[in-house]
Symmetry: C2
Amino acid sequence: MLKNKMKELLKIEYPIIQAPMAGGITTSKLVAEVSNSGGLGMIGAGYMTSIQIQEQIREIRQLTSKPFGINLFVPNDFDIIEDQIKSANRPLNQIRKQLNLKPKESFEISNSHDVSHTFMEQIKVVIEEKVPICSFTFGIPSHEVMAELKQSHITLMGTATTVREAVENEKAGMDIVVVQGSEAGGHRGSFIDSDKESLVGLMSLIPQVVDNVKIPVVAAGGIMDGRGLMASICLGAKGVQMGTAFLTCVESGANQVHKEAILSANEDHTVLTRSFSGKWARGIKNKFILEMQEHEKILPDFPIQNTLTQDIRKTSAARNDPDFMSLWSGQNLRLAKNQTVSMLIKNMIAEANILSSLEEL
Amino acid sequence: MLKNKMKELLKIEYPIIQAPMAGGITTSKLVAEVSNSGGLGMIGAGYMTSIQIQEQIREIRQLTSKPFGINLFVPNDFDIIEDQIKSANRPLNQIRKQLNLKPKESFEISNSHDVSHTFMEQIKVVIEEKVPICSFTFGIPSHEVMAELKQSHITLMGTATTVREAVENEKAGMDIVVVQGSEAGGHRGSFIDSDKESLVGLMSLIPQVVDNVKIPVVAAGGIMDGRGLMASICLGAKGVQMGTAFLTCVESGANQVHKEAILSANEDHTVLTRSFSGKWARGIKNKFILEMQEHEKILPDFPIQNTLTQDIRKTSAARNDPDFMSLWSGQNLRLAKNQTVSMLIKNMIAEANILSSLEEL
């Protein structure tokens, strides 16, 4: 049995992290159950206020005494350009018509300064509540924020989609880096290399990153079972982070329509789109994605586009209509199951143990 | 030690297949050396005449007594549309100008019937020369051709990029199916699901295919070393097929400029393009790809576009100019080395043996 530095840092039994999916998926039950089952539960707090975060942390602590983590979105600078918003809103009003919603012309859009302020409030509550692990998507926090978190002995995880991004995470002082392959569902974590064309498959990404950083590497993107876990370890990762596999679990807060869409889709049904939020993300192809495809280039950046589409996504979800919701999913969807978290983790470990005793060469 | 049906079928010592790269890369020396080192050498015969094939088979037999294989392109129907050729040739004449080549206006383009005839001639020589293994790209041969090959006791391998394509290969009687992940260099082997958007990463593709076919699955796409081999086996594959890793080997016939481009590129430098041949293929981004990008949608199908670009590719290669050559490569290029075939295979097996004895959970 080798020492696994990633497991030591996170103080977990199994090298399995539940991906911090934002937007209500990571219920307290889901997070606590993952941690109680020996993995690491994570709050997807990207869109949460500091008060919501505080409440959820306290709720989770009622459900588990095990460590858990939280994920925040590192803000990117953006400009609010009225003309761009008008152009982007035109096709959205067409979609509102299909949903029998009134056309919408004005939006309350937070500016860069507001978003940065919210982020600092989030950081503050993470420190106050002594969350043991904090991960980041869409970039690396400032030197000052990193120093403050380190002083509070919080274990820090960054996200990378290329070797260069992984090296930057290490340089900035991250303890662990999550590498996100092209297979991953939901938002791309890219922050330097954000060309849609340059998506790297996980099997190529892991060894190239492992050869270029010293911190433990966690693999993310389409991992669903013990086979994916053992493959990641063979490639040099110290563990895995899984989104879609937990999303369809009983304890997840994902909309039932979203779960069912994943459970009945095939491996080539997902596409990358920036139409929902302004950032590239992988989801199951639906009417919204297809109708917005031709407008993709003119859409405003994250989080503006996300604000513009909010009423559409919410209405579609409330009506159990998969046509206009963001049905985020990774590419390994034929392996998705509707099971409990504890069954998922138990089966994974059993399968991985069998595989690690094989010698098939 | 488990039984490996794929190794038994191919009569090889190690579950390593050298990808049949067309266009002069798979020299007799390369093919023979892979087979002599315990893997399976393959002739990339897609663009070869039956006479060239016969000569190479005989040359290889002088160099090895071990089994080797051959790969053929299954013809697809296509129409020759004069206007489309004219439009596609306009940007190509711009590129010819940059190479100081005369503009070209007429081409000798084989029609669908000619291409089918060439394919049947290729099949004939494979049978006559009793090549033990034959693999196919871009589709599945007719029922009659499959039956004839089977009667000659030739082991048959198909190529698939989705579960559906793998299932079709099994139904048609293939003995083995090679699954090509999105990471793979060179041409996509797609023949049913050829949407560029639906590229599936190898780590997601292998388990989904393995769960849906009974024949042995071989993994292809960015595998370069023992880590990739063991990861593939964990995911359920019985072996690997490697292109880029063999392309930069000493014995490969790839242009030195092509080898050097791979050896100095990073994981996010490759893109998919159909500008070289009319079929989607992954190569290192260069001037040709960038300049043709905006015309990609109007280009004629394979093999017409391949004929149109032939003089450009040849001239660029003859001048050691990487700007207008097809620099095919997979996504794992930081792992590429200029080494001998025997070193590559020896190191892979040593690394895989170490990994298969690890127990890191």
